[in-house]
């Protein structure tokens, strides 16, 4: 299958010579089209740095990141804007919706920036809203709806441009378990039915169990890899917990 994302020997250093922190230390992996990849690791392990590098918010110190055949470490200026606009979708932990716009407009703005015509925007927004069960709240403002709904609006915004890659940074971090489950089911739907390639960073084993494949990162290196395969989610969840125990090395935290 075609590779959407290819990370080749990516390295990211912080600080200067005398006090060097290797946030990402020689990581390489690929993500195929239609995959739902989870990245797990303790805080400070470099998972968010990795995501920031892939999302072009941050730059790698060395190595290459290739998204859909384009080396994003070399993009600049308008090309970078174009790349973000057309190929990436972002979902953040704290939603990052625009309070001044209604939910409908929040979703539509991604398309407006691409200069799609109004009728088509309307059609697309309504379609995605129906799929994510947010049709009733489209006219409301973000501060009038619940966290789970906000996150679904945010995921609608991320997916509506039909990006090659959807990047989610702790998407369930600010949600209660019920909304989190609902959101993850939506993710599964986006992944399976709309064939979106999703890359999700999380530290929560339950959230991660919805992914097809999980990379564990420790101290900036890939520590382990788990593939869901034919397992049920529950079996997969147990495996994740096992690896996490190894990773943390603290048995007392796992009941």
């Amino acid at each position: 299958m075609e590779n959407i994302l290819e990370v080749q020997n990516a390295e990211k250093y912080y600080g200067n010579k005398s006090n060097l922190t290797k946030a990402i230390n020689n990581i390489s992996f690929t993500v195929a089209k239609g995959e739902f990849l989870g990245i797990m690791g303790a805080s400070g392990s470099g998972k968010t740095t990795l995501l920031n590098c892939i999302s072009t918010i941050d730059k790698v110190t060395s190595g290459h990141i290739i998204v859909d055949g384009e080396d994003i470490t070399r993009l600049k200026g308008n090309k970078l804007n174009k790349f973000r606009r057309e190929k990436l979708g972002f979902i953040f932990q704290d939603f990052n919706l625009l309070d001044t716009l209604t939910c409908y407009e929040n979703i539509a703005i991604a398309l407006t920036i691409q200069k799609v015509n109004v009728k088509e925007i309307d059609k697309k927004v309504k379609l995605i809203a129906e799929k994510l069960e947010i049709k009733d709240i489209l006219k409301k403002y973000p501060y009038q709806v619940s966290g789970g709904q906000k996150q679904r609006v945010a995921s609608a915004r991320a997916i509506i441009t039909n990006p090659k890659l959807v990047l989610a940074d702790e998407p369930t971090g600010a949600l209660d378990s019920k909304s989190a489950r609902q959101l993850l089911e939506n993710f599964e739907y986006l992944n399976k039915k709309l064939e979106a390639t999703i890359l999700m960073v999380t530290h929560d084993a339950f959230t991660a169990s919805y992914a097809n494949r999980i990379l564990f990162i420790k101290d900036g290196k890939i520590f382990n890899e788990l593939i869901k395969g034919a397992d049920t989610r529950k079996q997969f969840f147990e495996k994740i917990i096992e690896v996490q125990t190894l990773l943390g090395g603290d048995l007392n935290n796992v009941i």
């Binding site: 918010i57 804007n81 174009k82 990052n96 001044t100 716009l101 407009e105 920036i113």
Partner: protein
């Protein structure tokens, strides 16, 4: 869409703008006061001896007014940065959605024009200058 965005943004950040304006108005007022001291009528109706003293004073004030202009300039830059910084996150969202710097500048420009129109309606001549400076600086900062 951009149009609506700017109007809504302005409504939301009206409080910030009020602070901004008060700062600027105060600054400009002080500056004006300094520079118009010599053309006040009261100054023209004094005797010969005091006129000489006043002339000297105006000479000194000329230097001081340069200093005031510098301070005022810094104040405008600071007030402007304050406004932009408060909205850094918002601009960040625009950028992750793939908006170009040019488009963001356009939003700020539109907002400033609206604010400018309002100020004009308030018939404050001095504000025009501030706004031109503001637009110039906001385009530069981004």
């Amino acid at each position: 869409m951009l149009f609506k965005l700017s109007i809504q943004n302005m409504k939301k950040s009206i409080k910030d703008y009020v602070i901004y304006f008060l700062t600027l108005v105060l600054g400009v007022a002080i500056f004006y006061m300094f520079n118009s001291l010599d053309s006040q009528e009261a100054m023209l109706q004094v005797s010969q001896s005091t006129r000489n003293i006043i002339k000297l004073m105006i000479g000194i004030l000329g230097f001081v007014s340069v200093f005031v202009a510098v301070v005022l300039g810094l104040l405008i830059v600071y007030a402007n940065n304050f406004l932009i910084n408060r909205r850094k996150k918002e601009f960040g969202i625009y950028m992750t959605l793939g908006m170009s710097k040019r488009q963001i500048s356009k939003i700020i420009l539109l907002e400033t024009i609206f604010v400018g129109i309002i100020s004009l309606a308030a018939r404050t001549y001095n504000w025009c200058i501030c706004i031109t400076i503001y637009v110039y600086i906001s385009c530069k900062t981004l």
